[in-house]
Symmetry: C2
Subunit: 329 residues, 2 copies
DNA sequence: TTGAAAGCGCTACCAT
DNA sequence: ATGGTAGCGCTTTCAA
């Protein structure tokens, strides 16, 4: 690979001048610049990012930590981040924490040691001391905390919405699945649903699903019908769990949506292909990713953030696991 | 962040000695080492990867290029790669090419400029000249070429198997979906199915699905039933497409598996949750990822590769979109 | 407008 | 067994 020295030699100038030329800093004569551009092109020169990074203590790399790359919600977030970053000349490197604390810590460490210029984390353990001692900006995605800027969907409204739709469509013995308690987002959804159910004066049971992951979703589904065989409406903790419940409902012979209504959360691409197609509360994952990226870029550029906590609206997506409602809103 | 200088000062030795100590190279007295370890711990020193990388022209980073992070097959590959790499002290950075050539090129460039020590690519355009001029080893994953070591599943056998199962279970007007022609893997599957169908002397139509992606899957499904309304057996190009077909089949009122059998390819986690649960040809994605990682690590360590093309077996997963067969194998 | 030189943090060579 | 030092490729003073 050609270095800046090669370029300098070829153009007959010093490396300092070349450096100024590439970075558009300080003076460089028009003619000299031409010479340099020419040399760069001929040698197909690309500045060595590592050397730059060593000097600047900043690369052009952005780290993104995902808690579980297998849950389709997160790849969608990643795409939003990616597209926005790409448009601004930053490069994204993704780390999959696999819901394991040590992996997450490893990735943070890797990102630090490789001089990322910023970090977006959609992962579990934002409370971690690891996140405090960062020398670069951090944005929380699909998570919140007091200390860091964040982007998340309105889980509380989502919870209320899910409950309201279910009630309006006639479920009266509702089972509310509560996601992992560590997640603020999961708690928000839960609280929203509880509040709505209380105020509508509808009976409901609560079951905790201690994870959002695939492997366990089936287990939660089985447990659900064992514990609450009479339930006629389920508010699932996310679409993956909802998918498992639909599957199990078929197995135990429940008719959907006649005998059992189900509402998911997320609206992952697969939900439309389920049978019956899953009604769900949609989080605008792609947009959330983009917003998080924008927030991070602002910080990198040293701009003031007008809002540190960006909350995006959710939306009820009506499909086939809910009945036609008589409501109007 | 503490540097090697700080450690040296604190331990009262030279940086050279510290360097030798951390890297276990050359002599360093037991007592000195203790001093150094002590200093490292007190300062919480971590060697700066960027500086190391600048000198060595090698980082500990492995690049992984995925063609489409939204197709659940690829995250599964990624996890295999990740786990194996982690066990060997390498760090994985994932790039999502999003099936776009320029993004793929960008990622290769980023990886180069950040001195990755090796690259695994599951992406489209392995033919690219970009892949030729690499200064670090490359392993192709879910792809093959003559020039580079690769790991892939036995698509040909998979195609045969899919066709055989469908025929044995009584489909006689089969529609064979052919994936994107650029992919050797897609061509292999196709060829396998064609060969089997010919030798079984069964009628079949061919429809090309020019992508594996979600957004288009629904379109292929609709096209399928418009063009071939009488088909009673579909060999889908992958599970995502199969999911869309199941969905569409419900819409047009086809009973599965009685009137229509479907076989997918991949066995992504979601397939078990479809209704009817999808029968499919399973690729051992996680293992493929691990094997690719092993292959890359061997190359990095300069070991000879006994086999450059690793082919993993596929397997028929019987679920509900195929009828009970009368066959025995 | 340009260039010489120092230095980012680390490793490796060569002395000692 | 240890240390001084050059140099990886780049940017940035500072002088010219």
């Amino acid at each position: 690979m050609a270095t800046i020295k090669d370029v300098a030699k070829k153009a007959g100038v010093s490396v300092a001048t070349v450096s100024r030329a590439i970075n558009d800093k300080g003076y460089v004569h028009e003619d000299t610049r031409k010479l340099i551009d020419e040399a760069i092109r001929e040698l197909n020169y690309k500045p060595n990012e590592v050397a730059r990074s060593l000097f600047n203590k900043k690369s052009r790399l952005i780290g993104l930590i995902l808690p579980d790359i297998r849950n389709p919600f997160f790849p969608e977030l990643a795409r939003g981040v990616e597209d926005e970053m790409q448009a601004h000349g930053f490069r994204l490197i993704i780390g999959n924490a696999d819901e394991q604390l040590d992996k997450e810590i490893d990735y943070i460490e890797t990102f630090k040691l490789n001089n990322v210029i910023g970090l977006i984390s959609a992962s579990t353990n934002a409370v971690l001391s690891q996140y405090k001692s960062l020398s670069f900006p951090l944005v929380l995605l699909d998570r919140t905390s007091e200390e860091h800027p964040s982007v998340h969907a309105d889980g509380y409204a989502g919870g209320r919405l899910a409950a309201r739709e279910l009630v309006n469509r006639g479920s009266s013995r509702i089972t509310l699945l509560k996601g992992p308690v560590e997640f603020q987002t999961a708690r928000d959804r839960f609280k929203g649903a509880v509040d709505e159910l209380y105020s509508a004066n509808v009976e409901f049971d609560v079951m905790t699903t201690a994870s959002f992951a695939f492997q366990e979703a089936e287990y939660w589904a089985k447990e659900l019908f064992e514990k609450y065989p009479d339930t006629d409406g389920v508010i699932a903790s996310n679409d993956v769990v909802a998918a498992a419940i639909i599957h199990e409902a078929h197995r135990v012979g429940k008719k959907m949506p006649e005998e059992l209504q189900i509402i998911g959360f997320d609206d992952i691409p697969f939900s439309q292909f389920l049978y019956p197609a899953l009604s769900t509360i949609r989080q605008p994952a792609y947009d959330m990713g983009r917003e998080a990226a924008k927030l991070l870029i602002k910080q990198i550029n040293g701009e003031k953030l007008e809002s540190k906590r960006i909350q995006l609206p959710v939306q009820f997506i009506e499909r086939q696991t809910t009945r036609k409602g008589d409501h109007h809103d």
